[in-house]
């Protein structure tokens, strides 16, 4: 049974459409991450699930109940905010129990839940402290604790790690993944960080300009992006794109050709002669000097060394920049002219509308 489902949800502020025809079904215990660039509507969607904003049209159903007309508290959800939103004048214990008082949880039960949550989040020594005396990571754990004690049907996280520094972000991320396994809770998690999305999610919902671009498992999105947007958004550094034209169709294959890329045969799919198309290849699939069906050359402008890999930024003759990943110690130097190639199975082909061509081979 779906723990949360959203049907034909729309939201507009006057003429501006913020969310357009959102359909989404989330299973019990699933960890779903909404990801997209800022302004794509992911936070608005989350606030509407929480009941903090009202949809213009469409339904939200939580655990089989239509909750459109219900107040946030009646939806059996709990939300963790980016800013933590702890009550500054209450200590940690009070922060966690404050809401429970009003929802009819008896005192003994409140204490039990706080003790349990504090144990899970290692908050026991902090229970009597005030938020101002806590570090950012501790505050975020308290905010999560406040959500846990509510025992909600659905947890909502709104960019919970954005205010933490890099090291803390990684450890809190692991913490959240651990909690999810422990609580077997349904979680909807909003972030703009694709690494958080990839590492945490059972399924990722990629959003752009108020629409859902693709819903899928992390690796499915990586290997089979539905369109140019998802292909460019998932993966870091981003996929390289080449504009090409279809010069010939022969049998099931299309010969495509474009500036700075050697003519290349791809499965034809729905392409017709004369169509423009885009081919994409990820930096990690390009090899220097290797052989492959996609080949291009350019001059190295910059090399970013990460340790296990380096990223070579290569300026093509048409002035576009592409990025190739180089493994090991033997990296090219700035100024070198190199040729790059990628094997056919790693080349993605998108039609003029930006949709990825689904072919027998790519599946």
């Amino acid at each position: 049974m779906a723990s949360l489902s959203i049907d034909a949800l729309n939201k507009s502020y006057g003429e501006t459409k913020v969310l357009i025809d959102i359909d989404l079904a989330i299973d019990q215990g699933e960890f779903v991450v909404l990801v997209g660039p800022s302004g794509c509507g992911k936070s608005t969607l989350l606030r509407m699930i929480a009941g903090l904003d009202a949809p213009t049209s469409g339904d939200i159903v939580i655990a089989g109940r239509k909750v459109n007309a219900l107040a946030p508290a009646e939806r059996r959800i709990a939300m963790v905010f980016q800013s933590y939103a702890l009550y500054p004048h209450m200590d940690v214990r009070k922060n966690m129990t404050f809401g429970l008082k009003f929802t009819g949880v008896p005192a003994a039960e409140r204490d039990k839940r706080v003790a349990e949550a504090a144990r899970m989040l290692r908050l026991e020594p902090l229970l009597a402290r005030y938020p101002r005396d806590l570090s950012g990571g501790q505050r975020q754990r308290v905010a999560i604790g406040r959500a846990i004690v509510r025992e909600p049907d659905v947890f909502l996280f709104d960019e919970p790690l954005s205010n933490l520094d890099a090291a803390l972000r990684v450890s809190t991320r692991v913490e959240i993944a651990r909690l999810h396994r422990l609580l077997k809770a349904t979680i909807v998690y909003v972030t703009h960080d694709q690494i958080e999305a990839m590492t945490l999610a059972d399924r990722i919902v990629v959003m752009n300009q108020g629409r859902i671009e693709q819903i899928g498992k992390p690796l499915d999105l990586y290997y089979e992006p539905a369109n140019l947007f998802v292909a460019g958004f998932i993966g870091s550094p981003a996929m390289n794109f080449f504009d090409v034209k279809v010069s010939r169709i022969e049998g099931g294959s299309a010969l495509v050709d474009g500036p700075c890329v050697a003519p290349l045969t791809v499965p034809a799919g729905s392409l017709a002669q004369g169509d423009s198309a885009t081919i994409g290849v990820r930096p990690e699939h390009l090899t220097i000097g290797g052989a492959g069906s996609l080949a291009t050359t350019g001059q190295v402008e910059l090399v970013e060394r990460l340790g296990e890999a380096s990223f070579a930024h290569v300026r093509r003759a048409d002035d576009k920049l592409i990025v190739a990943e180089v493994r090991g110690r033997d990296t090219p130097a700035a100024g070198d002219v190199i040729s790059l190639a990628a094997p056919a199975q790693d080349v993605h082909v998108f039609d003029a509308a930006g949709r990825r061509l689904v072919t027998a081979e790519s599946q």
Partner: protein, 276 residues
């Protein structure tokens, strides 16, 4: 560096001069209230010494007048008015910033007009109204007027502070299932404490010092306030300066006390820890 120092010095000179100007008369009143009548007129600027020291003013005030009643009246009026102004002011500020409803903008404008129109303009109408309502010569009448007088400014100031409270806090409380009234009283109001203290000080001073409305609305000794009560020592032919100065000196104390209490609250940073 030097220029900065000179500027700081200049600012301080001006501030010190202003402080002396403001404190001077008060100091004179307090000093002279402890002197005998001849000394007040003989050497008004001299502090009391062994020969001129006298408590005659205070003795007279306590024995020959209803000063205790006046004091009680003033305290009741000031504290009740202040309480109501703060309560309604904070609630209105919260409602006007938090909820959008039909006429909310019009209401906000109507309330801010109150800041610009002096309430004394309506004196005649107010006297008529109070008489019709049967509130003439009661403390209730004064309290109602002072609440009306203090509300616009307090709503204006508190609205500014309400806007600074992070919206996430209110959202978090709503998700937590806290009822709206409790959100106001238990989440918002505690965070408004520094602002409320400021408004409290702003509100009580003009109420405590007001002479006009007690003068036109109260007629019996049992409803006089301290500022009005002092006037009975100022006669057409003789003025009992000892009593006047003694009563005035005492009238300063409660306001100072209230200020000291509230100034402790005038510390910022109460929201520290709420959000990053």
């Amino acid at each position: 560096m030097l220029k900065q120092r000179a500027e700081t010095l200049g600012v301080h000179v001006i501030l010190i001069a202003y402080s002396l100007l403001a404190i001077g008369p008060i100091l004179l009143v307090v000093m002279n209230s402890f002197k005998a009548r001849n000394a007040i007129f003989g050497a008004p600027l001299a502090p009391p010494d062994a020969t001129t020291f006298s408590l005659v003013g205070y003795t007279k005030v306590f024995h020959a007048s209803h000063i205790v009643t006046y004091f009680t009246n003033s305290l009741i009026i000031t504290l009740v008015s202040m309480g109501l102004v703060l309560l309604f002011g904070a609630m209105a500020a919260w409602a006007l910033t938090e909820y959008r409803f039909r006429g909310s903008t019009a209401l906000a404008i109507f309330l801010s007009i109150g800041i610009m129109v002096p309430i004394r303009l309506g004196s005649v109408a107010i006297v008529k109204m109070m008489r019709t309502a049967g509130l003439n010569d009661t403390l209730t009448a004064l309290i109602l007027i002072y609440v009306a007088q203090g509300l616009p400014m307090s709503i204006f100031i508190l609205s500014e502070f309400v806007q600074q409270i992070p919206k996430d806090l209110r959202d978090a409380a709503r998700c937590d299932g806290v009822p709206e009234t409790r959100i106001f009283f238990e989440v918002i109001a505690p965070l408004l404490r520094p602002a409320i203290a400021t408004v409290a000080v702003f509100t009580i001073v003009p109420i405590w010092n007001d002479l006009w409305f007690p003068l036109i609305l109260t007629s019996s000794d049992s409803t006089h306030t301290i500022t009005l009560g002092v006037q009975q020592f100022l006669g057409q032919y003789i003025t009992d300066w000892n009593s006047v100065l003694a009563a005035l000196s005492m009238a300063i104390l409660p306001v100072v006390a209230i200020y000291v209490i509230f100034s402790r609250q005038l510390i910022g940073g109460l929201t520290a820890g709420a959000v990053k």
